[in-house]
């Protein structure tokens, strides 16, 4: 058995340098990514020679000349790690992903293919260099010795069988990466090398450091402790299709989506997973020729055929799935492709297996009217072809979050279609990729004693439709925010809580009662925590509050006060009505807006709020509660003569007196009619 290990020293540095080749050979320092980036996180040897150290502040580093400073990039590291795994995979099917910077390969049986073990190590190092990574490569008879040798020595190291202990003996114990406490103990003991650790009497070492000490000692002696743990294919569910021809219409796009989702769900099911989060990346034609028109076409078309086509496509997908199941072809779509006549294949959809590898051929697209399973007819228009200009798709990502995990491609397709209707791609689509985040499927059992809640999937669908109609972020559960900012709320996703099986019957009965906290209870609770009373859109305003101070000044007739106990409801205008307000002596005397117009016969205020001064969106407003004599457009009879000094008397015909809430946004001086008191 022979094992090779690739270790990328100063991995965070190499990951960045790999993407900025001009940094090669220069002193590079990586600092922490979050602002303020003040501490050195990693550095290469050149930077170390310049005097820099890990943990230095950026201010200190600034003193070093010729040192390049970069922020740590997790993306670059992930990419470098992926490259490292790809490299390992390209050499051997059996490899272990030991750490982000380390991979161990089983070279057994590769000699015939790639040459001797020494030659393979050379090739490994060379391949890593081509990937922009300077790797330490070590070859040994067991994985751990290979790993330790790679971490301990730069370049290529070959350790023959039987000479492990001798060769490793000079390595520092830090290479073993013992637990911190043990590292400190070894350091206190003066055990600095593998050799020193290996020489300690095992039994006494065990008494002091336990089994972990023994394990480390065996590692230091180069003993084989374990078999390779081959890296499994990660749970990564992605289906993608590169299209040779841009799709500019809703129908074929929907069909492609359907096929991809079918595959994705089948793969999820095969691994016993479901998904709650999907990402769709549409690679749109970035060349720009006619994209706007195409997009518009896609949008208009999609609007036209929204209901029918969704239904039909989904049904068609179902029938395809069924037929695939019935003839057993679903496992191998390519097989289906080879058997079916070209003209009757599923429209413009290439076989998935090919699509995944970007091998879709132009002739797979069949731009003609076609009749498919389920007897649903679609009208497909001719698509634009351009055989000569290679196009680079511009990604347009979308994501979809579900309240419960699902494996249902039909549901997913509906949701995506609704989403795409609301957010059509900006240009014809050249590539489609869907990624599903795997999760465990939902297992739920109904409850005899609970009323049946709406099916979460149907609910999600309904909400998606609502969102499509009213706009993103405008459907869900509103939540009032704890702030003085008037009318502040946010929309939360609508959630249905799972019934708790263990709940007692009594509590179930209780749960059916509407959960309304009494006002006093809320106030008590709030006062306990020092909180003011909760705001409400339904203001309870006593007659005192509605007292008109203006009237005391100008003898205007007062608004008849409602009984103190009588609540006054405020209906908010959404959006508020822009108004023009005439002021006299600091009080509003006349309001003009699209729907509210008249003289103010009584006003209370201003009620002033301001806040959010530490944000980019501060507010400051003065509110007035006003009684307005709403007049007809025909000016005639005086109903309420204004007798304030300096205020011009007006002759108005008052139809009725209504109370409104006016407010002035003090940030821009604009007046609004905010609501109407019932």
């Amino acid at each position: 058995m022979t094992f090779a290990c690739l270790y990328i020293a100063t991995f965070p540095v190499q990951a960045v340098v790999r993407l900025e080749l001009e940094l090669r050979g220069r002193a590079v320092i990586i600092v922490e990514p979050e602002p303020p980036p003040s501490r050195v996180f990693a550095l290469n040897e050149a930077a170390r020679k310049a005097g820099a150290e890990c943990g230095m502040s950026q201010v200190e580093v600034a003193g070093f000349k010729g040192v390049e400073v970069r922020r740590r990039s997790h993306a670059a590291e992930a990419s470098a790690h992926a490259a490292l795994l790809d490299l390992a995979r390209s050499f051997s099917p059996r490899f272990e992903d030991v750490a982000v910077d380390t991979v161990v390969l089983d070279l057994a049986g590769l000699e015939a293919l790639l040459g001797t073990a020494e030659e393979i190590t050379q090739q490994l190092a060379e391949s890593a260099r081509k990937l922009g990574l300077d790797a330490n490569v070590a070859l040994a008879s067991n994985p751990d010795t290979a790993r330790l040798a790679a971490r301990g020595w730069a370049g290529i190291t070959l350790i023959g069988e039987g000479e492990e202990a001798d060769r490793l003996s000079k390595l520092p114990v830090e290479v073993l990466a013992p637990p911190l406490e043990m590292q400190e103990t070894l350091d206190r003991w003066g055990i600095r090398t593998f050799g020193a650790l290996a020489a300690l009497p095992a039994a006494e070492l065990s008494e002091r450091l336990g089994q972990e000490g023994i394990r480390l000692q065996r590692l230091a002696r180069g003993g084989a402790l374990r078999a390779l743990v081959p890296t499994e294919e990660p749970l990564h569910f992605e289906e993608a299709m590169d299209l040779d021809y841009a799709v500019a219409e809703f129908e074929p796009l929907a069909f492609i989506l359907g096929r991809l989702l079918n595959q994705l769900c089948a793969r999820l099911a095969a691994r016993g997973r479901a998904t709650q989060e999907l990402r769709l990346v549409l690679g749109v034609d970035a060349s720009g020729d006619g994209s706007a028109e195409e997009s518009q076409k896609l949008k208009v078309e999609s609007q036209k055929s929204r209901i029918n086509s969704q239904k039909s496509i989904v049904e068609r997908q179902e029938s395809i799935s069924e037929s695939q199941k019935s003839n057993g072809s679903s496992k191998d779509p390519s097989h289906c492709h080879s058997e079916e006549p070209q003209a009757t294949r599923n429209l413009a959809v290439p076989p998935i297996s090919e699509a995944r590898f970007g091998m879709t051929r132009a002739h797979n697209f069949c731009p003609q009217t076609a009749k498919v399973e389920g007897n649903t007819t679609f009208n497909f228009q001719l698509l634009t072809f351009n055989f000569f200009a290679p196009r680079t798709p511009k990604p347009e990502p979308r994501s979809l979050c579900l309240p419960v995990p699902t494996q249902d491609p039909r549901l997913l397709l509906k949701l995506w279609l609704l989403d795409l209707e609301a957010h059509p791609p900006s240009a014809p689509v050249l590539k489609v990729a869907i990624t599903a985040e795997p999760t465990w499927p939902r297992v739920a059992q109904g409850d005899l004693f609970l009323p049946r809640a709406p099916d979460p999937q149907k609910l999600e669908l309904t909400l998606a439709r609502l969102r499509g109609m009213v706009g993103e972020g405008k459907a869900g559960s509103p939540e009032l925010l704890d702030t003085h900012r008037p009318d502040a709320f946010r929309m939360n996703p609508f959630e249905i809580r799972e019934p708790v099986a263990a709940r007692s019957r009594k509590s179930r009965v209780e749960s059916r009662k509407p959960k309304v906290e009494s006002q006093s209870k809320i106030e008590n609770r709030n006062s306990k925590f020092g909180l003011p009373k909760p705001a409400s859109h339904e203001f309870r305003i006593s007659n005192f509050e509605f007292r008109n101070r203006l009237s005391t000044l100008n003898s205007l007739p007062r608004i008849p006060n409602p009984e103190p106990q009588t609540p006054i409801l405020l209906r908010l205008f959404r959006p508020p009505l822009t108004a023009s307000v005439e002021m006299q002596f600091g009080h509003p005397v006349r309001v003009d807006s699209a729907h509210v117009r008249g003289s103010v016969i009584s006003a209370a205020g201003p009620w002033r709020t301001s806040g959010g001064w530490w944000t980019e969106d501060p507010w400051e407003r003065d509110e007035w509660d006003v009684a307005i004599a709403v007049v007809s457009r025909r000016l005639s009879v005086v109903s309420y003569p204004l007798s304030v000094e300096g205020v011009e008397s007006r002759k108005l015909k008052v139809e009725r007196v209504r109370c409104y809430r006016l407010y002035r946004d003090l940030m821009n001086g604009q007046w609004f009619v905010g609501g109407l008191y019932d």
Binding site: S38, L200, E204, F544, E545
Partner: protein, 1102 residues
């Protein structure tokens, strides 16, 4: 100012002394009130009168009347707004606060209705705003809130309850107001308008919001409706209030009426210093005269005419000012300390008093030194004298404080407060927290705030923000900075002053509210020492001084180990060894003269008598340094420039200091002589120069000085020189008496070090941290003076450092207190157990001292403290070997064998064994081990009859397979775990290599000529960037031969900043400056040196 301006008085304002509930300083409120044309304002801080003295002082200056009151928390959750109408009312308020505070933990407390009933006289109650009783009764759904108001009427009287109305443009508040008006009409109570002020100007609302979030431990984002809904709680102009309350004019008119009823001001405090109980037939003054006369005989002997005359003059003034009680009380404290063997010495201006000297309060003879009595006590000043007593820090000082408490009662004496304010780092941290910055980011920012004393022009908070990576162009960051600056200097919480005690005749709690301090048994007043002084409250400072503790410990150690009795009062004057050491700046570890600046001054000043030491102590102060008085004095002393005087009339004043003013008294006398200032005016001048220096005030005094000098006919040039001398004494300088007191301590410390080095060194090491140098430097300095230091040894060391006899000499054994991470209780348990029987093995130590944790054992082993466990004296104990088994290697019978065993034990052996001994056996073997324990039993229980050595398995005490530590490893272990080493200095190991590099040892520099290019190297033990040194950095490099002083210019420092600040060992090449015996190297090149990994601590950033 129009007539309208006075139609309203703000009767409900909170200052920042409501701690996180107000955003303006009292002075700012007063200034704004003055600006708006108020004639009176009332301050009602939360649960106290913390801000009242400053409010009162500011109001007095502004010509406003300052009403005093407080918001008092009720047990029902609301707050009574109470105003003191008369002195009785104020006293009741203070007592009420004291009662609620003293019965609750610090920071809490509330009053019951019963408390209120007992203390209602003289108080006026407002029904308050949102947090007032009326609002709470109404909001809590009390069925009949009127009945609760009736109860208030019963408590305070109908004429003393006002229904308070506030209008902040809030609907809910207005509803409450309408209800309040209705209730007031029904109950026939007067209405009063207030604005419930929390800040002076609308802009301060942001600070108020910050404080609200801090108070509730929220961020601004999550504080929600806890924040104010608008910015209306500021001081509003009377006109605006008139507009707001146009419908209720009587509410405004009543503010004037109520204000006119509030007769009490803090001038009418009624404070009285306690009378000292004298024997029957005596008066206080007669008793004082007697004690003074007795003391004078001891101090001056009989027939000292000058002294008698001075004493009589002072006693006459004391009698005239009725201060005899004060002197007797201080004398009583000093007497108590002497009786208890507590070292005590008066400092400060009290040393100007011959009476204090005669009474034994101070140790400096003011008659001999011709000190100015007026600096201590002046008829014109109208304030109490200030006597500060230095006591050994720690328990001794606490005993003295507790004596005062016992003598004058818990409510008769209390500590003065210390108001902790928001400063650079704390302000940035708190503001950042509420703005939602993460803790780590804030940590980085605050760590960048400079700790150097010197701050150049660019060393601002803005720069720190930039250095921390904050982009000030971002509005959020800008806001962060602005707010950080805005809350600077606002009070954060109340602490306790280190030693200020106020004492009162009768009940102190009727003068100022008392509250519990964090320290158990301590009571603290709500005012700081300046406030107390401003209001004429006598304060006695019982200050803890580390050097006093050192001297006290030294005296004890000398008595125990040298068999000599040393009295500080009878130290030989002008001891040649002391002056020799001082002259060559051999002053490491000495009081006040050990700093780098002092060391560079000493050889030039060349002290030969005590007064030179007084000058030395006083001259290295910011005042003389900034005033450019150091060099003229030294030059004149060395005869390099003639002694001249700004004016011939000043010669008597400045003669002693060669025409250069160095002491505060001299400046005052100059003003008195040259400008004809009275003693009181001179004292005003001193205050103007003090810490809270006001430019405006200085200008006024300068003008007065010039006028006075014009009158005296002093020429313009001389005037200029005098004014320059006085005004350039801008920063603090010592009074001569204070310098003399400190010089005495400096002399005593030098004397003890020169003659009793072991005792002095042990005492110094036992009272760390103190002084200028780390213990490692003190140890190396002591070694260079011939003292032997012994390492920490678990078999011999006590918790403190002790003295042992080593042959015919004394040596200092380093105490266990220097083992980092070793808890005192564990160490004491080990010492206790060792006292009962030695530890034959580490296993035995581990078993018998279960208090020792594994990490502590490991540290002890690592510093070599366990190397000698089980040494021969135990093994040779009669019968020990025969009783023990025969298999253990420690059970040897001959000295030779034992000696060999000990010889072979090294630190790593101990580490190897400790790792096994301290490792729990685990559940499987627990039972076996406990059985073993039972059979062996501790030798303590029955020392002679039980086997002394447990039946250990042979392998447990066997030699380890580990190699001994190398010298470098030992150094690293020593410094890491104790901060010092008694072995060789790290530089000593590298001397051969350093010689090859032509590096001069520190001790060799004195032999080299001035201006020569030299190389020095050593461990950086001190890095200084003094505020007065214009950006120069001073390094002290220590090697095995001594300390080399390095000067780094600002440019060079900027170039090598990281290296200078971070590198523990440096090699410096530069030009030697060897002038007048002062040796330093002006650095030109700096190179880091890889000498050792030992983490030698450096005393930085002074």
């Amino acid at each position: 100012m129009t007539e309208n301006c006075f139609m309203y008085v703000e009767l409900h304002a909170r200052s920042a002394f409501s701690f996180l509930e107000g955003a303006a300083l009292p002075e700012d409120l007063v200034a704004r009130a003055k600006e708006l044309g108020f004639e009176a304002v009332a301050l009602l801080d939360r649960n106290g009168v913390y801000g009242a003295p400053r409010f009162y002082a500011a109001a007095q200056k502004a010509g406003l009347r300052a009403h005093v009151g407080a918001e008092i928390t009720s047990t029902e959750g609301f707050r009574y707004s109470l105003l003191g109408a008369s002195r009785t009312g104020y006293q009741n308020l203070c007592r009420l606060v004291t009662r609620m505070k003293l019965r609750a933990p610090k920071g809490e407390g509330a009053v019951t209705e019963t408390d209120l009933v007992e203390h209602a006289e003289g108080l006026i109650c407002l029904t308050g705003g949102e947090e007032g009783p009326f609002s709470r009764f109404r909001n809590s759904g009390t069925p009949n809130p009127e009945s609760r108001l009736r109860r208030l009427i019963e408590i305070f009287g109908r004429e003393n309850v006002y229904v308070e109305l506030q209008r902040h443009f809030d609907r809910r508040e207005e509803a409450r107001n309408q209800a309040a008006v209705q209730v007031a009409r029904e109950l026939r109570l007067p209405l009063v308008a207030t604005n419930g002020v929390s800040f002076a100007t609308p802009a301060e609302r942001q600070v108020a919001d910050i404080f609200t979030a801090l108070r509730h431990h929220r961020t601004l984002e999550t504080a929600g409706r806890l924040l104010t809904s608008n910015a209306e709680r500021h001081l509003k102009p009377p006109q605006e209030m008139a507009r707001l309350f146009a419908d209720l004019p009587e509410a405004l008119a009543n503010t004037l009426e109520l204000s006119s009823r509030l007769e009490f001001t803090l001038r009418d405090l009624g404070y009285e210093f306690p009378k000292y109980p004298v024997p029957e037939g005596e008066t206080q003054i007669s008793f004082l005269r007697q004690r003074t006369a007795e003391g004078a005989i001891g101090r001056y002997g009989y027939g000292h005419e000058r002294a008698t005359k001075q004493l009589e003059r002072e006693l006459a003034l004391i009698e005239k000012l009725h201060l005899e009680g004060y002197f007797l009380i201080v004398w009583d404290i000093v007497r108590y300390c002497r009786e208890q063997g507590i070292l005590v010495q008066g400092r400060g201006s009290a040393a100007n008093s011959a009476v204090c000297y005669a009474l034994g309060i101070t140790a400096v003879d003011p008659v001999k030194m011709d000190l100015l009595f007026e600096r201590f006590l002046s008829e014109e000043r109208g304030e109490w004298p200030d006597i500060d007593l230095d006591l050994p820090s720690g328990d001794q000082r606490e005993r003295a404080i507790q004596y005062v408490y016992e003598r004058y009662g818990q409510r008769g004496a209390a500590m003065t407060a210390n108001v902790i304010t928001y400063r650079g780092r704390s302000a940035a941290r708190e503001v950042g927290k509420v703005l939602g910055f993460d803790i780590e980011t804030l940590g980085r920012l605050t760590s960048l705030v400079s700790a150097w004393e010197y701050r150049d022009a660019s060393d601002t908070l803005e720069r720190h923000f930039r250095d921390a990576g904050f982009d000030l162009a971002q509005p959020r960051i800008r806001k962060f900075l602005d707010l950080t600056l805005a809350i600077q200097d606002l009070p954060r919480h109340l602490g306790q002053h280190s030693g200020g005690l106020v004492i009162c005749q009768g009940q102190l709690d009727a003068v100022v509210p008392l509250e519990p301090a964090t320290m158990p048994g301590r009571v603290v007043v709500q005012w700081d020492k300046d406030d107390c002084a401003d209001l004429g409250i006598v304060k006695v400072d019982l200050l803890g001084l580390g050097m006093m503790a050192v001297l006290e410990d030294s005296i004890r150690l000398i008595r125990d180990h040298y068999g000599e009795e040393v009295s500080l009062a009878h130290l030989p004057a002008d001891d040649p060894e002391v002056y020799k050491a001082l002259q060559k700046a051999d002053t490491v570890g000495l009081f006040q003269v050990e700093s780098r600046a002092q060391m560079s001054c000493l050889p030039r000043l060349h002290p030969e008598r005590f007064y030179d030491l007084v000058v030395e102590v006083a001259i290295i102060r910011p005042g003389p340094i900034v005033g450019n008085m150091v060099h003229p004095y030294l030059n004149r002393r060395l005869g390099r420039e003639p002694v001249t005087y700004p004016h011939p009339s000043l010669e008597p004043v400045l003669k002693r200091t060669l025409g250069v003013p160095l002491f505060q008294e001299q400046l005052l006398r100059m003003a008195m002589i040259a400008a004809g200032f009275t003693g009181g005016e001179a004292e005003d001048l001193r205050r103007a120069m003090g810490f809270k220096r006001s430019e405006k005030r200085m200008k006024e005094i300068e003008k007065k000085l010039r006028l006075g000098m014009d009158r005296q006919g002093i020429a313009p040039a001389a005037q200029e020189e005098i004014v320059h001398s006085i005004t350039s004494f801008a920063l603090y300088g010592f009074p001569e008496s204070h310098a003399a007191s400190f010089a005495l301590l400096a002399y005593a410390s030098a004397y003890l070090k020169c003659h009793y080095l072991a005792a002095y060194t042990a005492a110094m090491l036992n009272n760390q941290p103190m002084g200028f140098y780390h213990p490692s430097t003190l140890i190396k300095d002591a070694e260079r003076h011939g003292l032997r230091l012994k390492p920490i040894d678990a078999a011999r060391s006590e918790w403190p450092c002790t003295i042992e006899r080593a042959g015919d000499r004394l040596a200092v054994r380093i105490g266990l207190r220097y083992v980092k991470g070793l808890r005192e209780e564990a160490a004491q348990a080990m010492v206790r157990e060792r006292g009962r029987a030695s530890f034959p093995s580490l296993e035995d130590l581990v078993r018998r001292v279960p208090e020792l944790r594994k990490d502590e054992l490991v540290t002890l082993a690592e510093v070599g403290a366990l190397n000698f466990i089980g040494e021969p004296d135990f093994i040779k104990r009669p019968g020990a070997a025969t009783k023990a088994g025969t298999s253990d290697k420690w059970q040897v019978t001959s000295d030779e064998q034992a000696g060999r065993a000990i010889q072979h034990r090294h630190r790593r052996d101990a580490l190897w064994q400790v790792e096994r001994a301290a490792r729990p056996a685990g559940p499987l073997l627990d039972e076996v081990e406990s059985r073993e324990l039972k059979t062996s039993e501790s030798p303590v229980s029955n020392f002679e009859s039980q086997p002394l050595l447990p039946p250990l398995s042979p392998h447990r005490e066997s030699h380890s397979p580990l190699l001994p530590m190398t010298p470098e490893e030992r150094l690293v272990a020593d410094f890491h775990n104790t901060g010092l080493t008694v072995g060789l200095h790290p530089m000593a190991y590298r001397r051969a290599e350093l010689d090859a590099l032509k590096v001069n040892p520190a001790s060799a520099l004195a032999r080299l000529t001035n201006g020569r290019r030299v190389r020095v190297a050593g461990a950086a033990i001190v890095r200084q960037r003094p505020g007065t040194a214009k950006g120069f950095v001073f390094l002290s490099l220590e090697d095995e031969t001594g300390i080399a002083n390095i000067i780094v210019t600002p440019d060079l420092f900027e170039r090598y900043r990281v290296m200078v600040v971070r590198e523990p060992f440096l090699l410096i090449e530069g030009r030697l400056q060897n002038q007048d015996g002062v040796i330093s190297v002006k650095a030109e090149h700096i190179v880091p040196l890889a000498v050792s990994r030992a983490g030698i601590a450096s005393h930085d950033f002074h």
